[in-house]
Amino acid sequence: MDDTKLERLLASDEAPIDTAAGLRRFRETVGARGIESYAAPARRRWTQALAAAAAVAVLFAGLSITGVAESFFTIFQPKQVAPISVGAGDLAGLPDLSEFGTLTITTQPAYRQAATLDLARTETGIAPLRAATLPAGVTGDARIYTISRGEGTFRFDETKLQASAGRVSRTPPPMPASIAASTLNVSGGPAVVQTYGGSFDPKSDPRIDPKAMPGSVPTLLIAQSKAPVIRSDGASFDELRAYMLSQPGISPQLAAQIRAIGDPGQTLLVPIPMDLASGKSVTVRGVRGLFVGDSTGLGSGVVWVADGVVNVVAGTLGEKELLAVADSLR
């Protein structure tokens, strides 16, 4: 079979493509589902930021609690990771958390470039893991960044929720009294990020998405962060979860997956877009982790939690190469 025949066979009865009709269909979908574009107002970016935070930006999370009243108790502190398969519809329907209350950042995380890993360790208290072997194509020294600990409070506000319910067509269920009176304390970091290749700069783009910018993302990224902690002065984790899963827009499939997590207060959920990537359980340095790869081997990542630290190795590498780097960390 020669190349011409191969090409002929891979062809199909290709009718002309009607771009105008495609654009009309796209506009209708956007209008019907109320989907907002990347450049839309901050309200949407907040939701996206939360999704991104759930996915990889565990980098902004931490263990130490300071300045929090003693009435707070820990409701979330991950010790393991689990995948959640999400479709495009699931993401479009996520409730906008800014409608449920007010987030106040009390300690803004700060980003800095560090000259050496030893300096990064002094700055953050995290002992950075070094890659003993690097795959072919990954060359040069790593750029090292540190991210300081950040902290914020989220105060639930039923009045705000009722006000927003009047503006949108869907009506959220009433907020239980135990949640309405609650404040959450969310903290994260510090973190150390090492990158090879590309032009990754957490100051300009803290989202770490290997597929986002093929020309400029690092070939390899190694990140470690103190695991995030959420503390509450009222509502329990189960109450919060039940309430959030009852929101309109949360698909039954997504809710069922989240309910099925056995130890939710200690499990970091990693959303995996079902159309672009797949996830599987792997063992990294003797610990169970989650490998996420896109369907073509363009990029992949592995996440695991050990000794209170969330570790991420990601890059534009295949599964074998990426896991070899993760296993070589010392």
């Binding site: 079979m1 190349d3 191969l6 090409e7 066979l9 891979l10 062809a11 199909s12 009865d13 290709e14 009718a15 493509i17 771009t19 495609g22 654009l23 269909r25 796209f26 506009r27 209708e28 979908t29 956007v30 209008g31 109320g34 989907i35 907002e36 574009s37 990347y38 450049a39 107002p41 309200r43 996206q48 495009a88 993401l91 479009a92 800014s98 006000a163 503006r167 949108v168 998405d209 597929k211 986002a212 910018m213 093929p214 020309g215 400029s216 877009p273 159309d275 672009l276 896109d294 369907s295 073509t296 081997g297 363009l298 990029g299 534009t316 295949g318």
Partner: protein, 181 residues
């Protein structure tokens, strides 16, 4: 005259179906190519358009329309999306074979050779679903008319590697066809 204070959060959300101009330009420039990439993999116009719509939707949500990586991102997303559909639908390949064979038998001057061609196409798509995803992507992108540079941008490698990747992918596909054909 008193100052008016408007809290931004209380403004109603816009439901204007118009898209940002930059996005519409991107859509018009790339939709045809994105559909064609998916169609090379799937051999089905309607399914290819579904994959293209999904790719543009993911991009629309997550990235600015004027991003320099936009075309490469969309091409890669079309290849991934189509390969996922192909892998998830063995029945579809069987259906395609039957449909094509029936069409060939009913309306075409040389129904026998058309039926053979339809069967060969189905076989090659089954093989495409089985070879490594990166190889399948390279073939879909290149055979849909993208230049070496464009294929390289979509899969994130240097353009001078494409010749080798393409040869290996063609070889892998041939072997897979022989093995099961």
């Amino acid at each position: 005259m008193s100052a008016k204070v408007i809290e931004l959060g209380t403004l109603p959300a816009s439901r204007d179906p118009r898209l940002p101009v930059a996005f519409e330009r991107l859509f018009e420039a790339e939709y045809g190519r994105v559909v064609r990439i998916a169609q090379r993999v799937l051999g089905d116009a309607a399914e290819a358009e579904d994959v293209a719509q999904e790719a543009f939707m993911s991009f629309y949500r997550a990235h600015p329309a004027d991003a320099p990586f936009a075309p490469a991102w969309l091409h890669a997303a079309a290849a991934h999306g189509a390969l996922n559909v192909l892998r998830g639908s063995k029945r579809r390949v069987a259906r395609e074979t039957t449909d094509a064979a029936e069409r060939a038998a009913s309306a075409i001057a040389d129904p026998e050779s058309e039926a053979v061609l339809a069967e060969e196409r189905a076989l090659i798509r089954e093989a495409l679903a089985r070879i490594p995803a990166k190889s399948a992507s390279v073939l879909a992108l290149r055979y849909s008319g993208l230049s070496y540079a464009e294929v390289a941008a979509a899969i994130g490698v240097n353009a001078d590697q494409i010749g080798t990747l393409l040869r290996r992918a063609e070889e892998a596909l041939r072997k897979e066809v022989m093995r099961h054909g």
